[in-house]
């Protein structure tokens, strides 16, 4: 597939380009909403919404670039990230451990939102569309996905509860994925499928560890994880 065709069908002014930009903005808002919340079931809900929007974005790219493999990925994203992971987290972690409010946050909500805003601005400054070699994609998507990655990282840093950290990592992963489908729509499918498989396995193992830890410690908040210290 030629680079030129990509540029035309996904430029910022085409319908697909606008849709893609819009999805990226909604995903960023979900990341912010998660950062500004204190309730575990909200974290999971925002992650689910973000993943569903991501699957829409993947569908848009698949449609615009005529990539059948991406359709498969869009469906997988919807089913696994949008439905299965949120449901599993809710059922096996939140309900079983009776978790409601996250009290293990090191920074106040407003402070972390302000830091998040700075990170978003930084993402825009660091990755200007002009630094990209070709105007391949809807221009806003790359800085937006970078911002989502940074916000996910921020959530992992300011939250100390293991489940909150897990959600932070998943949001970060969504950001990477958004960047991946737009920047590198022609990524070989077999590799992309492998990445997906790894993600699912990682989440399964993490859920096992968290519930195991919670059963043993009666709390799985990372500040209580003090045994391994110098």
């Amino acid at each position: 597939m030629s680079v030129l065709a990509t540029a035309e069908s996904l430029s910022a002014t085409s319908t697909s380009g606008v849709l893609l930009d819009l999805s990226a903005v909604v995903m960023l808002l979900c990341a912010f909403a998660c950062l500004g919340s204190k309730l575990f079931d909200r974290y999971v809900a925002y992650y689910a919404v973000q993943s569903i929007v991501l699957s829409l974005a993947a569908g848009v790219v698949a449609y615009a670039l005529h990539q059948p493999a991406l359709w498969a990925l869009a469906v997988l994203t919807f089913l696994i990230k949008g439905l299965a992971i949120p449901l599993a987290t809710r059922r096996f972690l939140l309900d079983r451990l009776e978790l409601h409010r996250d009290v293990a946050i090191s920074t106040g909500l407003s402070t972390s939102l302000i830091i998040g805003a700075f990170l978003t601005a930084f993402a825009y400054l660091a990755i200007r569309p002009s630094t990209l070699p070709h105007a391949l994609v809807a221009s806003a998507v790359v800085p937006l996905s970078t911002a989502i990655v940074l916000l996910g990282g921020l959530a992992m840093v300011v939250r100390r509860h293991t489940i909150a950290q897990l959600i932070g990592w998943l949001i970060l992963e969504n950001g990477v994925f958004l960047g991946a489908i737009t920047l590198t729509a022609t990524f070989p499918f077999i590799v992309e499928a492998g990445i997906f498989l790894d993600l699912v396995a990682a989440v399964l193992i993490m859920i096992t560890f968290v519930s195991g830890l919670a059963l043993r410690l009666a709390t799985a908040a990372a500040p209580e994880l003090r045994e391994l210290r110098h």
Partner: protein
């Protein structure tokens, strides 16, 4: 020959099927060892072929074995062999004492086989995307091993390990994406744009800004796996909580696999970025040596001590890559092999000590030489070897690296020497106190079984051999590896 190369990871992977059979601990251990020995034999055959006939390529680059991958495969297959022999003793002992139940014994076997096999597979692919997938998959398998004992401490270590390394590995994925993007000016098929040999041939034409981001993120991302400071924080916990043969695999195989990925990225980045790549590796390398050496000063858990020593040694390898040149690369590769064998032996020894003394605290262990002469002897000599004392292999490789340093800037070489001395004192005072002295009452005098002694003796013999004489075949494999990435 390609089929043989495929067997290198597949034979150890077959061990993952052993838990399905109604085997006891001993049988499970021997299944692991059998697969590993078979894999090592195939790795030797592949190395001989590659050294003679050049790189093997099949399946549009998904299978790609050049001398560099062959060298790493050989190193790691040897480590997997030693560690799986160590697993025989470990599994048998845990079954006898009832520390692990039947399910845990089976989980250990499956996790160990997957961990070793996936790592070997990751070294034999030329596709950088698949490399990422396999390294992440092997990480997940190893997380199972770290959390195996199911105590709060080991679960905590496993959580820390999996969350930090997932974060790091995600960065490595972004690096791979940027490298893919950097190759968009090239007239290559999407698949080739991820295939290392194709990228290496066109390395001078890659888009510069994206390439720089790709290299930096790869060093940070895969550096998290390698345990480069400041991304090393998972390492001491995971190494101290994992069962000892698994610690040996983490330290001697997993860290090197991460370093292998960094070497690949550096080779692609050098034509466009030049000395920049060396400077990045020097900074991370010296930071790791300093952090490793300083934390070794503290006396306490001896498995943590060995883990910090791994941080230090990965720093040394990174510094050697930073010095660059034929001498630097030669030192880096030789040191990878030597450190892998030495650290594997030390962690297996630590397993023996933990089994007898039932503690991981260095203060609680005295007189290993008297109670268990073989274990004590290996502990003492292995420590000397890992610290770079002649006549062992690490002396030769560290000497090469310091020489490479003097070719560049003398004060960096002096800094390296000073840090090595600090590490020597910090490490040796703990292990020397453990080995010598009069043992307390109550530690049972056990008969040394042949199975547990075998990997220790084989490893020490290899270290001694590499210190006195580098076989011609190995030398030419290393020289060809350097040729493949320059």
């Amino acid at each position: 020959m390609s089929a043989l190369a495929v067997l290198v990871p597949v034979l150890p992977l077959l061990g993952a099927l052993a838990p399905l059979a109604p085997l006891r601990a001993r049988g499970l251990g021997f299944a692991l060892a059998g697969g590993a020995v078979g894999g090592f034999a195939c790795a030797v055959a592949v190395a001989v072929h590659v050294a003679g006939h050049g790189a093997l390529e099949a399946g549009s680059g998904f299978l790609y074995v050049d001398p560099l991958s062959s060298f790493f495969t050989l190193t790691i297959a040897f480590v997997v062999t030693l560690a799986s022999l160590g697993s025989v003793g470990y599994l048998r002992n845990e079954e006898r004492t009832g520390e692990l139940n039947r399910l845990q014994l089976r989980l250990y076997t499956a996790g160990f086989a997957l961990f070793g096999g996936l790592m070997l597979a990751s070294l034999e692919t030329g596709n950088l995307g698949l490399l990422w997938v396999l390294i992440e998959a092997s990480t997940l398998a190893s997380a199972l091993l770290v959390g195996l004992e199911g105590k709060a401490r080991s679960l905590e270590a496993a959580w820390k390990y999996i969350i930090i390394s997932s974060f790091g590995v995600t960065m490595a994925l972004v690096a791979t994406l940027f490298l893919f993007y950097a190759s968009s000016p090239l007239a290559l098929s999407p698949n080739q744009r991820l295939t290392w040999p194709a990228l290496f041939v066109h390395a001078g034409l890659l888009q510069r800004d994206s390439l720089r981001l790709a290299f930096l993120l790869a060093v940070i991302g895969y550096g998290t796996k390698v345990g480069l400071a400041p991304m090393h924080t998972w390492l001491p916990d995971a190494h101290s909580e994992a069962p000892s043969p698994a610690s040996a695999m983490l330290s001697a195989a997993l860290l090197n696999t991460g370093m292998y990925a960094i070497v690949r990225f550096q080779a692609v980045a050098i034509p466009e970025l030049g000395r920049y790549t060396n400077h990045v590796l020097l900074v991370f390398g010296f930071a790791s040596i300093a952090i490793g050496a300083l934390f070794m000063v503290r006396r306490g858990n001896f498995k943590r001590l060995f883990a910090y020593s791994s941080v230090e040694h990965m720093g040394i390898i990174s510094v050697a890559l930073g010095f660059g040149g034929v001498l630097g690369l030669y030192g880096a590769l030789l040191h990878t092999l030597n450190h892998a064998i030495g650290k594997c032996v030390l962690f297996l020894t630590s397993g023996e000590v933990v089994q007898r003394w039932r503690t991981r605290d260095a203060g609680g262990v005295v007189g290993v030489l008297t109670r268990a002469p073989l274990v004590g002897g290996v502990l003492l000599l292995g420590s000397l070897a890992i610290l770079g004392t002649p006549p062992f292999g690490l002396f030769l490789s560290e000497f090469t690296i310091v020489r490479a340093g003097f070719r560049g800037s003398a004060w960096l070489a002096f800094l390296l020497l000073a840090l090595l001395v600090l590490a020597f004192i910090a490490f040796a005072r703990t292990t020397a106190d453990m080995a010598t002295g009069e043992p307390a009452e109550g530690v049972a005098q056990e008969r040394q079984s042949i199975v547990t002694a075998l990997p220790l003796l084989a490893g020490m013999a290899a270290l001694l051999l590499l210190g006195l004489w580098i076989p011609g075949g190995l030398n030419s494999l290393i020289m060809r590896s350097i040729g493949a990435i320059r």
